[in-house]
């Protein structure tokens, strides 16, 4: 079975690959050919007289068209008589001119105020930006992050006020996303790709479930931030909604784009462990009994497990369209090696988007298909052991033949040689995901403004993981396990079926526009998982088959959402805007009595700028709008079947012996049958302003966001339920904050333009309730494990505190400011003054949640040059330096075997491990230059445009944090995959 998988995948992909090639070929062939020679030429300029390069000049009702060159010149060979040409360019009003007998036509394009008001996709519809009533942020392609971008959410980091995205350091790594503060369950926003809401989570064998998408396909991303905007997505809207819109083909002849880069990445920081010579000194000073046991080598273990990593990316796109058909097809290949040896992410994606108009353009069929095949190579996380391993030991040593030439300690629990762990583990994953949907829109010919829409979607994500651990790997040697094998497969599928109607009309009598949408949605999610693992594997017909096998019972879970939704907007005199939406969601995740929930919202906006009394402001302001929104959203990311006591059999490894029989155990899980929707109620006040003819736009927001009936796994009175903790609607978490977003065009001269965007968000978080809290001694729910010891935690969830605040002992310091080292009573503050230091003396303090997030995006162009960068800052975020706490004490020098230690031991003087000292809680505010790109556009390239660029990614970090990297989502700096710095050389061509 194992050896069939890759073959199956290969067939699957190749089939689709050739289908896509055939499709493109067909389109290329069917392009019209031109034979006639009556031509027209001229120059396109804007109202200031500057040439407009890149404008489209199209012969009306044909595919015959050209694009103006760098000086605004064009020449078009017309295909027929009595031609009309259509001249268009983004930001300008489209013009049509009858050619007649003219041979030269010079055109002056007029800026189009209406067009400048962008269209914003808001879920089941779109609105003009000026008509938006909720808090909606739109990020366009020009503002996206540059660099190695393996999945679309990484385009957004730092771009939206209040949206925190932290990406893991491994190649193709996953992102942790949080919008407007933190709650406790399911933090990620809902992703909606071309109308299809994605299920949360990924499959085994893959690093990031969004890697299947080609980020270059993304045209724009809209973030629905407040509940009045997100409530249309009901029970999945509580953490916001990220709507991704991908590129469409546009009318005109075939456009081909290529973007390729080569990258080189390196870990550029240093880790504060002792160098080999410092280490020898430490042994002489602190553990002289080990002097004779010092090794001969000088090994920098961190360097040994890292590498300089190369990568490359190739993206090819074809797009175009005829009268009723347009198409967009893209291929992408990304090969991205990690800075840790044996880590790699290779991703191949193919996407196709077709649009066909039928029935006098009244029926629009859109077919989208995005397919990604991702190969991930993993490596065990050896950072911790690389830090700890005695630097006087060599990597290779053959004195103990059991370990295949690697130096190893024979003590079972001593740190394993990290290089051996990397070399002796072979861990690979393959994932294949396809997201396809068919959308039909029918404009009823007999009722202007009414259209019916259907959206049928299919999301299939298949992953497999194959891991082999050599018989020479240390723990297999010690436990005599031979070769170990783990095989996992995971298939997640989702079907979407939704239907809705949209009616737009103008009621002239009250000078109002009305836009109503209503519909029904059905989405089903299925996940199947299998695992087979075992030891003492032998090769049979080229496949490793374990003899001591453990098979996990295959598990299948399914859940379903059924929804009815509606939204009505009215725009009175272009001054008063009202929007109300209502969604009713039904979910299989709750018991029959609580299955259905209502999610209402309402918002009003007042465009002061259009009031008569504001006419004096129009010189300065181009927009002035106040908004108030209120809405209820939900969260249902809580797992399945938690409302009913289900009995489940255990794995065969957890059986119990009666006589000579091992009996499978049967276990029910304790539940609260009354669990229901977790509701988030939020209110938002906003101001949108535009100044200086729209060259300066800013928005200010204030929000209050309350998660009521927070689902929390709370302790039950002992003995009163089948589990010690049961998921119940009990808690309450509040986030409040301000946001400021500024977008400006600082310069807009003939050969110099500078766009600058700035966003800042301030958030404060508090857990208002977590349980019924009747005992003052109860220290809250301890969460977030740390390394250095078994079963230790560092954070807490407790009423009155920030979510995930750190819980530590207060370190006592001597006059010179050094931590006191002595008995526990001397070292720590005896908070309850009972003469003992125990759990009751732990104090809840700072949290990892940033109080302020900031992002700056700058794009400059001067003649042929372009320079862009993204700066990002967090403040008020604290980190627990677990690297220092778990290694920074002198006893570790001789713990079981000789080990390296963290240099902080010299600062603290700690002899023993002090994991819970608040000494290790550090302010981790930072400013990062995420990426900077310099590009050059080559002039006078006849057939199209070529741009060469160089990008640096993760350029510098300014921080007071003593560890390697202050940006740590959960606030625990612990064996993290190191983030590298990257240089990219790329070329971008289109013709």
């Amino acid at each position: 079975m194992l050896n069939h998988r890759p073959e199956f995948l290969f067939r699957y992909i190749s089939k689709r690959f050739f289908a896509a090639i055939a499709l493109v070929a067909l389109m290329v062939i069917s392009l019209p050919t031109q034979a006639q020679d009556n031509s027209i030429s001229g120059t396109v300029k804007d109202s200031s007289g500057a040439p407009v390069p890149g404008a489209t000049v199209l012969e009306k009702e044909t595919q015959n068209g050209v694009i103006t060159d760098f000086d605004g010149n064009y020449k078009l060979i017309l295909s027929g008589d009595n031609a009309t040409i259509v001249i268009s360019f983004v930001g300008f009003a489209t013009q049509e001119i009858e050619v007649g007998s003219q041979a030269t036509i010079n055109i002056v394009l007029q800026e189009d105020i209406e067009l400048l008001s962008e269209i914003v996709v808001i879920g089941y519809g779109s609105v003009e930006k000026k008509d938006v009533t909720g808090t909606v942020a739109k990020v366009n392609e020009e503002e996206f992050n540059k660099g190695i971008i393996s999945s679309p959410e990484k385009l957004l980091t730092g771009k939206v006020a209040g949206l925190q995205i932290e990406t893991a350091g491994d190649p193709g790594g996953g992102s942790s996303i949080r919008l407007r503060g933190i709650s406790i369950n399911g933090q990620n926003p809902l992703f909606v790709v071309d109308g299809v809401p994605l299920s949360e989570g990924g499959v085994t064998g893959g690093r990031n479930p969004l890697n299947f998408m080609n980020p270059a396909d993304v045209e724009s991303i809209t973030v629905l931030k407040d509940a009045s905007a997100a409530a249309i997505y009901g029970s999945r809207g509580a953490n916001g909604v990220i709507i991704i819109t991908t590129k469409n083909g546009t009318q005109g002849k075939l456009k081909v784009g290529y973007d390729g880069f080569y990258s080189i990445s390196k870990f550029t920081k240093t880790v504060d462990m002792l160098t080999p010579s410092q280490y020898r000194d430490a042994i002489f000073d602190k553990a002289p009994q080990e002097i004779d046991n010092l090794g001969e080598a000088s090994t920098n273990w961190v360097d040994e497990v890292l590498q300089i990593a190369q990568g490359q990316n190739h993206n090819l796109s074809f797009s175009g369209g005829k009268k009723a058909t347009n198409y967009f097809v893209s291929f992408n290949y990304l090969d991205n090696n990690g800075v840790m040896r044996n880590t790699r992410n290779q991703s191949t994606s193919i996407s196709v988007k077709l649009q066909q108009k039928l029935l006098n353009d009244n029926l629009i069929l859109s077919l989208n298909s995005k397919n990604g095949f991702t190969k991930d190579q993993f490596s065990p996380n050896v950072i911790g052991s690389a830090l700890r391993f005695d630097p006087t030991r060599p990597v290779f040593d053959d004195s103990d033949p059991r370990f295949a030439g690697y130096y190893q300690w024979s003590d079972a629990l001593a740190t394993a040689n990290p290089v051996a762990s990397q070399d002796l583990n072979d861990q690979n994953g393959n994932t294949f995901r396809t997201l396809s949907n068919l959308q039909l829109e029918y404009k009823l010919p007999f009722l202007d403004g009414l259209s019916l829409k259907a959206n049928l979607g299919y999301d299939r994500n298949y992953g497999e993981y194959h891991g082999v651990t050599s018989e020479f790997e240390k723990s297999n040697v010690i436990n005599n396990r031979g070769i170990s094998v783990t095989d996992q497969t995971n298939l997640r599928t989702s079907f979407l079926s939704e239907y809705y109607a949209n009616y737009k009309t103008i009621i002239a009598s009250i000078d109002s526009k009305i836009d109503v949408v209503g519909g029904y949605s059905w989405q089903d999610f299925n996940s199947e998982f299998t695992q087979l693992s075992g030891d003492n594997a032998t090769e049979i017909d080229g496949v490793l088959v374990p003899t001591d096998t453990t098979a996990t019972r295959p598990s299948t879970v399914e859940n379903r959402l059924i929804s009815f939704f509606g939204r009505a907007s009215i725009d009175i005199k272009d001054k008063y805007l009202l929007t109300a939406s209502l969604r009713r969601d039904g979910s299989t995740r709750f018991g029959e009595a609580n299955r259905w929930g209502w999610f209402p919202s309402a918002a009003v906006a007042w465009r002061v700028i259009n009031e008569d009394f504001a006419s004096g402001l129009t010189g300065l302001f181009s927009e002035l709008k106040f908004r108030v929104g209120y809405g209820v959203t939900g969260n249902q990311e809580i797992g399945n079947y938690l409302y009913n006591t289900f009995y489940k059999f255990g794995e065969p490894t957890a059986a119990y012996q009666f006589g000579n029989e091992f009996v499978n155990t049967l276990r029910p899980v304790g539940v609260d049958p009354d669990i229901q929707w977790e509701e988030t109620v939020s209110t938002n006040f906003g101001l949108d302003a535009g100044m200086f003819d729209g060259r300066l736009n800013y928005s200010i927001e204030y929000y209050i966001k309350n998660v009521n009936d927070l689902l929390f796994r709370v302790a039950v009175p002992a003995g009163s339920n089948l589990s010690d903790q049961v998921l119940t609607n009990i808690g309450q978490v509040e986030n409040t904050g301000f946001e400021l977003t500024v977008n400006s065009v600082l310069f807009d001269r003939e050969d110099f333009r500078w766009d600058l965007g700035f966003n800042v968000a301030i958030n404060s978080n508090v857990v208002k309730k977590i349980d019924n809290n009747t005992d003052p001694n109860f220290g809250g729910y301890n969460v977030t494990g740390i390394s250095g010891d078994v079963g230790q935690t560092i954070q807490v969830l407790k009423a009155g505190e920030e979510a995930f605040a750190f819980k530590t002992y207060q370190q006592q310091y001597d006059e010179s400011g050094k931590p006191i080292v002595g008995s526990l009573l001397e070292m720590y503050s005896d908070v309850n003054a009972d003469g003992q230091i125990n759990e009751l003396d732990l104090v809840i303090g700072e949290s990892p949640n940033p109080k302020l997030l900031m992002g700056i995006t700058s794009n400059m162009s001067y003649k042929s040059w372009e320079l862009g960068f993204t700066l990002r800052a967090n403040t008020g975020n604290y980190v627990y330096n677990n690297v220092a706490s778990s290694n920074g004490y002198f006893e570790q020098l001789t713990d079981r075997v000789t080990n390296n230690i963290h240099i902080s031991a010299y600062e603290t003087g700690f002899k023993t491990r002090q994991l819970h000292s608040d000494y290790y809680i550090e302010n981790a505010a930072f400013l990062k230059l995420d990426n900077i790109t310099l590009g050059y556009n080559f002039d006078k390239v006849k057939f199209g445009r070529i741009k060469a660029y160089v990008t640096a990614q993760n350029v510098f970090t300014l921080t007071g944090y003593s560890g390697v990297d202050p940006e740590i989502f959960n606030g625990v700096d612990n064996n993290l995959y190191p983030r590298s710095s990257t240089i990219i050389l790329g070329i971008n061509a289109s013709f």
Binding site: A19, R402, A412, L413, A454, L456, Y458, N479, N480, R481, F495, Y520, T552, R553, S555, T556, V557, R560, I562, T588, Y641, F646, Y647, K648, F649, G650, E651, P652, T653, A654, A655, Q657, F658, E661, F662, N664, T665, L666, P668, A718, G719, S720, N721, S723, D724, Q725, N772, N777, F778, V790, G791, Q792, T793, Q836, N838, E839, L840, R896, T912, H916
Partner: protein, 548 residues
């Protein structure tokens, strides 16, 4: 594409408002209990809950989530720590949050090891209660269970009630004032008095006795009448502590049934703690054991803990029992497979050792030739004194439980031992008999008592050289003999309390008691553990134990 399109259309036609989904691999009670085998599986869960920590071995899908590490949630691991680390028998070198507070008697109501012990006890109680609710005769009729199975399930019910009574005994012993629940209820539980708990256990055991399978007649691993008698004996022996009652005659009533049931002492003391103790001659002595298996019952508690935590340092570094292996020319040779040969595991966890105070019970601590032959001490490179809790070489190691069979073979797995944990064994019955007689119980006599004690000593010494006289058989001697015979088997705290030597005016001290290197006296409140703050926090009916 076409296929997908058809699929989508098919799906869309299903669109409706059906929100009833059931898991594919789990069942509601109405379904699962139609199959009589399910009752056996459910009972296996209740037995298994004393050793396993979840539905996946060795860890995964844990039963208890209120502490961070699933391994900590093992019943026997938590129980053993509470009964041994709090005494002179064992100290631990680890720094898991709160673990040293057991050694130093500075635990609080937030101590995670106290907490997990409490929740484990109530986990067993809750599952037992649900089992009993699901298996009433009426329910069995509803499920259409046939008569043959009904008779079998009636026995299961008795055994589950036994397991519940055992858990309640632990609750009474360790926490004293806990709720008494016999069914799952949403009502807030209220605390029972110690007398109510005591009476409940006593009544339950009396009620189920006729239904329990006769001594030695049940399948291996399942409790029988003799296990029940042992529990009765232990409850009554400590009745003065629990409810201030003299029940020593009842102790003897129960023990007399055991001694008449055909058990015999294992010929070789050490085989009681070996990987094949379910099959070797020691099985004749074991009355009730918690089973372990390296392949099918994997967990990080029970004997996995007892074997691994007790070894480390030079024990697994090429040194055999204090004697270095040397080659012909006298150079030391380290044998990397040492730990496998001696202990049947890949390596040690370097945690548990003993104190000088315990070694003294075996003879002159500095002269191993004087030690009682039952000692299983590893002294090479170890100091007698424990000056640093964190140094494994401080304090003698006690590799009493090992994963090696009586034939010298390691267990099937080098990580997860096959060694069963003998919870109740005949030697304990002998010792309790002597103590009950000495404490004035009727139904026994001193001669028999002396015979039992000397039987233990003859097994230890291999002859009668270790025999004691009637005059030497004092209550204090019995307490010390309990150390020599029963050390590290989880009874020491109970014994010290019964003798008034744990806390109170006549308390003894030992290294690290009260957090002091030499030991200091501690407050009387430590006679029992506090109700965990996490339970007080959600149950306003509960009143904290005095002093906490």
């Amino acid at each position: 594409m076409k296929k997908i399109f058809i699929l989508l259309l098919t799906v869309s036609t299903f669109s409706c408002t059906d929100l009833n989904l059931s898991p594919a691999d789990a069942f509601v009670d109405a379904v699962v209990f139609d199959d009589p085998e399910s009752y056996r599986s459910y009972m296996a869960k209740v037995y298994g809950a004393y050793t396993l920590t979840g539905q996946n071995g060795p860890a995964g899908d844990g039963d208890i989530s209120i502490v961070n590490d699933e391994g900590f949630t093992s019943y026997i691991r938590a129980y053993w720590k509470a009964q041994e680390l709090t005494t002179d028998e064992a100290i631990i070198g680890w720094t898991d949050a709160g673990i040293r507070d057991l050694n130093s008697m500075t635990w609080s109501s937030e101590n995670q090891f106290v907490r997990v012990l409490y929740y484990r006890i109530f986990y067993i109680i809750a599952y037992s209660n649900d089992f009993l609710t699901q298996s009433t005769p009426e329910k069995l009729d509803e499920h259409g269970i046939n008569d043959e199975w009904k008779a079998e399930i009636a026995i299961y019910r008795a055994e589950v009630r036994f397991l519940r009574a055992l858990a309640y005994w632990h609750a009474l012993d360790l926490f004293r004032n806990v709720p008494l629940l016999t069914k799952i209820t949403t009502d807030l539980p209220t605390q029972a008095t110690p007398q109510q708990l005591f009476d409940f256990i006593e009544t339950e055991l009396a009620e189920i006795e006729p239904t329990m399978v006769g001594a030695k007649a049940n399948e291996y691993g399942r409790a029988d009448k003799a296990a029940l008698w042992m529990l009765q004996a232990k409850l009554f022996l400590n009745a003065e502590v629990y409810v201030n009652q003299d029940r020593y005659s009842d102790v003897l009533l129960a023990l007399n049934k055991i001694t008449a049931a055909g058990y015999s002492l294992a010929p070789n003391y050490f085989e009681l703690f070996m990987a094949d103790n379910d099959a070797n001659a020691a099985a004749e002595e074991v009355i009730f054991a918690l089973n372990s298996d390296g392949k099918n019952t994997k967990n990080y508690g029970n004997t996995t803990f007892l074997v691994h935590a007790a070894i480390g340092g030079t024990m697994t570094d090429g040194i055999v029992d204090g004697t270095e292996k040397t080659t012909g020319d006298g150079t030391e040779v380290k044998d990397p497979t040492e730990s496998v040969d001696n202990y049947g595991v890949g390596g040690g966890w370097s945690g548990l050792r003993t104190t000088k105070k315990m070694v003294e019970k075996f003879g002159n601590p500095l002269d191993s030739s004087t030690w009682d032959p039952r000692n299983i001490f590893y002294t090479y490179s170890h100091d007698l004194e424990v000056t640093d809790l964190g140094t494994f070489e401080d304090g003698y190691a006690v590799p009493k439980f090992i994963n090696v069979s009586s034939q010298g073979d390691p267990g099937v797995d080098l990580d997860f031992p096959d060694t069963d944990n003998p919870m109740f064994r005949l030697a304990d019955a002998y010792l309790m008999y002597a103590e009950a007689v000495k404490r004035g119980g009727s139904g026994g006599d001193e001669t028999t008592a002396l015979g039992y004690i000397n039987a233990l000593r003859q097994r230890a010494y291999g002859d009668n050289s270790g025999d004691i006289t009637a005059g030497e058989l004092t209550l204090d001697f019995i307490l010390d003999e309990r150390v020599r015979e029963m050390y590290w088997e989880g009874t020491r705290r109970i014994d010290l309390i019964r003798y008034g030597k744990f806390v109170g005016a006549s308390q003894e001290t030992w290294p690290w008691k009260g957090g002091d290197l030499n030991g200091v006296t501690v407050d009387d409140k430590y006679i029992i553990f506090p109700i965990p703050a996490s339970d007080l926090n959600v149950n306003k009916n509960l009143i904290q134990n005095t002093g906490y």
